[in-house]
Amino acid sequence: MAANANMALPGIHELVVEGESDPTFLDDLIAANHFKTFLLGRGIDLPPELMTGLNVLMTAFQDDVAMYRKMSQQRRPVQESLWPWRRGNGA
């Protein structure tokens, strides 16, 4: 399976095509990266192909990922504070 993934990732330039970026793909990519970081933090050994592959994808789509993160931060609902003096500050 990992070998297949490696074969599907020949180079960064072949991972992208002209057109609109796909939000579902970006969401999955960011979540997969968080998942990977979490597992590594727990001391779980992951296959090197998986680590390299995700890094390659993150590098290839780094601009789109940054834009997507920014957009989701803007869309985040205002958090209501339980403390009255902090209400309305988004704290």
Partner: protein, 213 residues
């Protein structure tokens, strides 16, 4: 830029691999909105724990400082004392759980309900057990606080029962199980009576033939 079909296929493959290593975790728990929601829930839970903990501690301190206020209603003092101890027990238990699960990826809405429910149950069980099981020990303790002369009341385990009831739900369930069993035996339920008869016969048999072992 749009992802090529190869990139999409590779990412799907990676997600499957991550799920295989994730021991039951899924990608859903690591999405931006899930992480954001978890962070907010965690903040709310922490705040609840701090506020509730401080409130219970304050109630205990007030009960210790002003015991004379309850001179006409000593059972109210017992109830307040037990509920505060039970609540503190529940909070101590939740804190330990949270500290143990530091790398937990997400704290869901249901877990927020669990925290509230746990504190509520801690107070409830402590109150019930304090009033029905250890009320005399607590009253003795209250009288000692009111006029601290002579020997301090013994039976610290009994005094600790409200805290333990809040701290450990399995303990409460165990006590309740035993109580239900006792009631069932008293009422003469068929299956329990059979068990008792068998046990009695076995005991009699072992008494009558001590030399056989």
């Amino acid at each position: 830029m749009a992802p090529s079909p190869e990139a999409r296929a590779a990412l799907d493959d990676f997600i499957v691999q991550l799920a295989q290593h994730g021991d039951g975790l899924t990608l859903e728990e690591f999405r931006l909105r899930s992480l954001d929601q978890a962070q907010r829930t965690q903040r709310r839970v922490r705040r609840t724990l701090y506020v509730a903990g401080l409130t219970f501690m304050l109630a205990i301190l007030l009960a210790l400082i002003f015991p004379a206020s309850f001179r006409n209603t000593p059972l109210l003092w017992v109830g307040l004392w037990a509920m505060s101890l039970g609540g503190l027990g529940a909070i101590a238990s939740i804190f330990l759980l949270i500290l143990k699960l530091v790398p937990q990826p997400a704290l869901h809405k249901s877990e927020e309900l669990e925290v509230f429910g746990r504190i509520f149950l801690g107070c409830l069980f402590s109150l019930v057990f304090a009033i029905t099981v250890v009320s005399s020990a607590l009253m003795e303790f209250y009288n000692y606080i009111l006029a601290p002369v002579g020997k301090a009341p013994s039976g610290s385990a009994q005094l600790l029962l409200p805290f333990l009831c809040g701290y450990s739900i399995p303990l409460v369930l165990g006590i309740l199980g035993k109580a239900i069993q006792a009631v069932e035996i008293t009422l003469g339920f068929e299956d329990r009576r059979g068990a008792v008869v068998t046990r009695t016969i076995r005991r009699r048999g072992s008494q009558s033939s001590p030399g056989t072992r």
